[in-house]
C-alpha cells in the first residue's frame, strides 16, 4: 500500500479527557488507503524525530482520519497546540494494520482489549464488526475513560474496567477477557496497551486457543522501514527475527512476539 507525505488540515479538535486530544484530519488520499491498526508519523515543529500516532478511526465518506493522543512529553504537548485550520505534517498511512478477515460468520465474535490510550487504535477494528465485537476497555479511574461512547455508538458491546473500581468492573481487563473467552464463541482477539497487559492477554488467548493480534510500540525514526531503529524480536516457525515495528508491524500475532 502506498503512503504519502504531506501537510493536512485539522478539521476538528476535541479534548476528550485531561491531556487527551482527538483530531480529525482531512486527508482523502491517505484515508482511501488507511486501515484500522495503521499509524501516522507526525512532524512536530522543533523536533528531529516524528511522533507515531495510531489511526483511531477512518471516515471514508469525508476523506478524513481521526487520531487520539495523550500528552506524554514535549512532542505530544506541542502537537496538542494545533488547532482547527492548522496543518499537520505527516507520513501516512504506515504499518500493516489489524487483520480483518471478511469471512467471520455472523454468529462468531471478536474481542478488542485496550488499556488506557491503547483503546484508540481498536475503535476502527471494532467498528468493522459492530455488534459482533466486544470491546474491553481498561483505565486507571473513571476520569481517564475515553472513547467508550464511540464504541457504543457503533453497536459494539462495551465492558469497562477501572483499576480503582470507580466505574465498571474493578480490576484489570484480564478477568472479563477470560470470562468472555469462556463463552467459547470468539474468533479473534485484538489488543493494544502496556506491555505487561499485552503479555497477559497473549497468555490467556493461548490457553483458550484463540488467535490474537497485538499492536506494539517502539521508539521510531523514519517510520517506513528504512533506518532499522524500531526493531523488535519476533519468533516465526521457531526462528528468531529482528523485525521493524513500523513496517512489519505495529500489529503482530500474539504467539510470535517476545513480550
Amino acid at each position: 500500500m502506498p503512503y504519502r507525505c504531506g501537510s493536512y488540515h485539522v478539521i476538528e479538535k476535541t479534548a476528550i479527557s485531561a491531556g487527551v486530544y482527538s483530531y480529525a484530519i482531512l486527508c482523502p488520499e491517505v484515508a482511501v488507503d488507511a486501515r484500522p491498526g495503521q499509524f501516522v508519523h507526525i512532524k512536530v515543529e522543533g523536533f528531529t524525530l516524528r511522533r507515531p500516532v495510531s489511526i483511531c478511526d477512518i471516515d471514508h465518506k469525508n476523506g478524513s482520519i481521526r487520531i487520539v493522543f495523550e500528552i506524554r512529553g514535549h512532542g505530544t504537548a506541542k502537537l496538542a497546540d494545533a488547532n482547527v485550520g492548522d496543518n499537520i505534517d505527516m507520513i501516512a498511512p504506515l504499518g500493516n494494520g489489524f487483520t480483518l478477515p471478511d469471512g467471520i460468520a455472523p454468529d462468531r465474535r471478536v474481542i478488542t482489549v485496550g488499556g488506557g490510550i491503547g483503546v484508540a487504535p481498536l475503535l476502527g477494528a471494532a467498528k468493522a464488526f459492530r455488534e459482533n465485537a466486544t470491546a474491553i476497555l481498561g483505565f486507571r479511574s473513571y476520569d481517564k475513560i475515553i472513547l467508550a461512547n464511540d464504541f457504543k455508538q457503533s453497536d459494539v458491546h462495551v465492558i469497562t474496567c477501572t483499576d480503582d473500581g470507580s466505574v465498571g468492573l474493578k480490576g484489570t481487563v484480564t478477568t472479563p477477557l477470560e470470562a468472555e473467552l469462556a463463552k467459547n464463541d470468539t474468533d479473534m482477539v485484538y489488543a493494544c496497551g502496556p506491555q505487561p497487559m499485552l503479555a497477559a492477554i497473549v497468555r490467556i488467548c493461548e490457553k483458550a486457543g484463540v488467535k490474537c493480534e497485538v499492536s506494539l510500540e517502539q521508539r521510531m525514526g523514519c517510520g517506513v522501514g528504512a533506518c532499522a531503529v524500531c526493531a523488535c524480536g519476533i519468533t516465526r516457525q521457531d526462528k528468531e527475527y529482528m523485525l521493524m515495528v513500523c513496517k512489519d508491524g505495529p500489529v503482530f500475532k500474539g504467539e510470535e512476539v517476545l513480550l
Binding site: 502506498p2 503512503y3 504519502r4 507525505c5 512532524k43 523536533f47 528531529t48 524525530l49 516524528r50 512532542g75 507520513i91 517502539q218 521508539r219 521510531m220 525514526g221 523514519c222 517506513v224 522501514g225 528504512a226 533506518c227 532499522a228 531503529v229 524500531c230 526493531a231 523488535c232 528468531e240 527475527y241 529482528m242 513496517k247
Partner: protein, 305 residues
Amino acid sequence: MMKRDLTVTVAGVKFPNPVIAASGVYGFGEYYTDLYPLNLLGGISCKGLTLNKRNGNTPPRVAETPAGMLNSVGLQNPGVDTFINTNLPRLKKDGNVIIANIAGDTPEDYAEIAKRLSETDVDMLEVNISCPNVKKGGAAWGISTEGAALVTKTVRAVTKKPLMVKLTPNVTDVTEIAKAAESEGADAISLINTLLGMRIDIRTKRPVLHRNVGGLSGPAVFPVALRMVWQVAGAVKIDVVGMGGINSAEDAVEMMYAGAKAVQIGTAIISDPLAPLKIIGGIEHYMDVNRIRRITEITGKVEPW
C-alpha cells in the same frame, strides 16, 4: 536562463547531482519509492553491509536529543550476498550512483566483502571504519592511523572499485586518519559518521538506548562536521564527501564551500523523507541567484580569515 550543471565527479564516478542519501537511513532505497523515483538523487549509500546477516543491537535503538538523535542500530543488515542478489539489481535499475557501505570485524572481513562486490556493477565502495555501535571492528579501525591504513590497504589490494573511506569524528586529529587512508590508496574520504553520545531516562535511571551509548547525528553535529570536512579537505588531495547534520540547501552549500565535492544526507531524511529533493531544489536556487553555472565551482572556495 543559464543552464546549470549539477554534476560532480567523486573518485572518478560521475554523479548527476551532489546529493547522496547517507548510509543507514535509506535502507536499500526500497522504502522510499512510494514517494519519488530514486534517480532524482545523485546517489545512494546503502545500509552498512557485513559478510553475514546481522540482527543488530537490542532495542531501544533510538533516542531524541536537542536538534538531533542517537542511534545504536549496530549494523542490522541481510549480509552482502543477499544485497548482491536481491537489492543491488533493483537499485541499479532505479537509481543513479549506487554505493555499497561495508563493515567488518577484521581487515580480512572487509576484503572478502569488497571482493564479492567487485564482481558486481556496484559503482563505489564506502569503507565504514567508523560505526560506533558494534563491539568489534567498525570504528575500532577508524580511531588510529595504523587501523585506517591497514583496512584501506587490505581492501585496496582486492578491488579496483572506486574506494571511499568513511571516517569517525571520535578522534583527536581526523586529518591524520584521512592521510593514512589516502596513502594506502583511498580514492575519496567521506565524513563524518556519528559522534558517540548518551541519554538517561531520569524516571527509570536507565540510559534510553539499550546499548547505553550510541551515535549522535542531526543538525546538532553540523558545525563539528563542517569543521572536520574543512580540515580534511585541506589535508588530502583526494575527493571529500561531506555529511553530518545537513538539513537544508544552505547547509549543503556550506559543506561544499568547506571542501566537499558532494554531500550525504542522513538524519534529515528521517525527519523529512523529502529532504534530499528540497535540498537539490535549494542548491539550484542558490546557483541561479548567485549566477553559478557549475556546482563544482564552489567546492573548497571558502575564504578563511
